[in-house]
């Protein structure tokens, strides 16, 4: 086993390369650009047989990806944040083509204000689009998830596009040891794309993206996408099992870390979940029965597997690196829906919002989240949602606001 130090972006590019992507419609955006640059470099050097086309926007890029996938070639693309949002009309449109491809999103907070650092509001905006979603915690997982995502998306029982998410900075620009599968092994796991009936040719005209008037017809097509996405749960398990057998790395739809005998578990997605693992280890050393449950698959939502992982726990600290204004953490609501009304489910789901725009979630904050959840279990009542923010952070903010206020007043009087 040889491992190489590469960034999350390089791992994503390797995923596309080993998948034998044949067409890459592209548009640059920080922190995703390095993926496209890497692929362009390989194509230019003749190391990758692929056509890369720079489009004039992400909207066009996703349109091109959906159209190209309909012709039966293997398509890869990548975007981030505002780019994903700019493409949103087509993100919702292309799953209905029932033509599979893989899109990588490098998470970055959305405006306003503008930022470069990550949270998950961008990718969660695509939550209801029909794209399948796989969420990564390490650079290795980025590469492996892309191979798995192609198998899943292209499976004839599914045939939906898939989105693989990695966090900007914490994975995109961070090097970690990654085992890059050898091309032959990758090819055995993911053979060349067999598009079956998806072969859109000039000689055989097909119209995509058509209109239907009448709710019942419309509902049929929408329900079909939903049923296919749900079907992807079982297909995912098959594909992940095959991957584990071939490469020795297990990617269950739900990762359960030291949670079997845990009383309190952290529940979260993304790269910060490795920090949660660290906290789990430290809390265990201090004699506390704490674990981590992390869904890798967010669409389809692995509700059954989550119920299995959480059954009998006293409390869950749900950590959302996203914020639905006026509601709270998206994952908190999703998990509650999956557990509500079932016997044996944890009575306390404490909600924590943090890590927005790359804000760190400190080790002591993990400890405190576990403590708050534990207290709630003892008291038998769920605490109000907590927006992670420290007195020091507020002090800094106030200082700047004072300066801004003074300047503004100055402007008024002169």
């Amino acid at each position: 086993m040889t491992r190489t130090l590469i960034t999350g972006n390089a791992a994503a590019a390797w995923g596309a390369r080993l998948a034998g992507a044949e067409y890459v419609p592209a548009f640059p955006i920080t922190p995703q650009t390095e993926i496209i640059e890497t692929l362009a470099g390989w194509i230019d050097a003749g190391e990758m047989d692929c056509r890369l086309v720079t489009l004039e926007s992400e909207h066009s890029m996703i349109t091109a990806a959906g159209a190209a996938a309909s012709t039966g070639v293997r398509v890869f693309s990548a975007t981030s944040s505002q780019g994903l949002l700019y493409a949103m009309e087509m993100i919702y449109a292309v799953p209905g083509y029932r033509a599979p491809f893989v899109l990588v999103n490098v998470s970055r907070g959305v405006q306003t204000p503008v930022t470069l650092e990550p949270d998950h509001n961008d990718v969660l905006a695509a939550r209801d689009s029909g794209f399948l979603q796989l969420h990564c915690a390490t650079c290795q997982e980025v590469l492996d998830s892309i191979l798995i995502a192609y198998r899943l998306a292209e499976d004839h029982r599914v045939r939906l596009p898939a989105l693989v998410n990695l966090d900007g900075f914490y994975l995109s620009f961070t090097r970690e040891p990654v085992e890059i599968p050898d091309p032959a092994a990758a090819g055995r796991f993911l053979p060349p794309y067999d598009p079956e009936s998806t072969r859109f040719h000039a000689g055989e005209p097909v119209s995509q993206g058509v209109a239907v008037l009448g709710g019942a017809y419309y509902s049929y097509f929408r329900y079909q996408q939903h049923l296919a996405a749900q079907r992807a749960l079982a297909v995912y398990d098959e594909v992940a099992a095959e991957f584990a057998q071939q490469f020795g790395r297990r990617y269950d739809a739900v990762e359960a870390y030291r949670s079997e005998d845990a009383e309190i578990v952290f529940f979260m997605i993304g790269s910060f979940s490795t920090k949660a693992k660290d906290a789990v280890d430290r809390l265990r050393e201090a004699g506390q029965a704490v674990g981590l449950v992390r869904p890798r698959l967010l669409r389809p939502f692995p509700a059954e597997a989550l119920r299995r992982a959480l059954e009998g726990k006293k409390g869950v600290a749900v950590i959302d690196q996203n914020l639905s204004m006026g509601m709270g953490g998206v994952l908190h609501g999703e998990l509650a829906a999956a557990l509500y009304g079932r016997a044996g489910m944890p009575p306390v789901l404490a909600s924590f919002i943090g890590g927005l725009g790359g804000r760190d979630i400190a080790a002591e904050e993990f400890c405190e989240m576990a403590a708050v959840t534990r207290r709630a279990c003892t008291e038998g009542s769920t605490p109000p949602p907590r927006l992670l923010y420290t007195a020091d952070e507020l002090r800094q903010m106030r200082k700047l606001q004072t300066v801004a206020h003074a300047e503004r007043m100055e402007g008024k009087t002169t």
Binding site: L5, T7, T30, T112, P113, L116, F169, Y170, F173, T174, R175, E176, P177, S271, F272, T274, K275, K277, D278, A279, D281, R282, L283, E285, A286, Q288, D360, A362, A363, E364, E365, C367, E368, R386, L387, L388, Y389, T390, A391, D392, L394, Q401, A404, H405, E407, R408, G411
Partner: protein
Amino acid sequence: MYRIRFHGRGGQGMKTASRILGSAFFLQGYEVQDAPRYGAERRGAPIFAYVRAARQAIQERGIILEPDLVIVADDSLVPMPAAGVLQGIMPRTVLLIHSGETPETWRHRLNIAGPLLTLPAEAAAGDGQRFAGAALAGAAARLVGVITSSALERAVQLELAGLGREIVSANLDQALAAYERMAPEAGRVSEGEVFAAAACRRPDWVELPLDEADAAAAAIHAGATSVEVRTGLWRTLRPVIDYPRCNRCWWVCSEFCPDSAIRVNAGQYPEIDYDHCKGCLICVAQCPAHAISAVPEAQA
């Protein structure tokens, strides 16, 4: 776990330095995580990069707040609060400054009791800076004391592959020379502890109050505030106009300056706004009369 932070300016090779050190640790059998941290800045702006290395898998992520070793490639960054060079320095943190001045001078200036070392900067700017990254990675490799010179050598070759044999060997010389120079200090840097849950401080969380929308909107209520941002601090080389040679052409320099940092004064001569000139040296290249030259900031 070793936690190491490199501070420098965009273009001084801090990302490369962190990667050389990261690869050297990795070749030595350590688990490694390394990353540069930059925003929307560019060449000359303060940036940093960090390396974590441990015997077991690394779960920690993000900026290093309690460094075992802090390396500063450009000593002009030390007093700059925005650069955050001294952030989280503990009594046992080793500080290595790439500087022409002595450790005593720095210790006195910073009022620091902890271990402070310098790696003499070569003839400032110019060539010295070109190899600063490799040299500092070499010094760091010796300071941690667990990296052999052959691992360092292979790491330099790995990270600089593709730059041509001459550049690789020049960098390698610098890295190995710094490695040798730090021999008396080998092993000076020790591994930091993993945090213990029992010793955890409680975070000082607050209930965020709702503020008036006016104050809570991310807006700037004034014109031309970008003038306040002194991007001139990003400059490592300063363009200097030799007025007797300037023939006031049609102000090519002013025309080409991407930062609009050259205005034409009443006497119709170009004047550089050093608060905002980032030192890209496009004006130097464009001036038809060759009237503008580049001077290292340290000598300007």
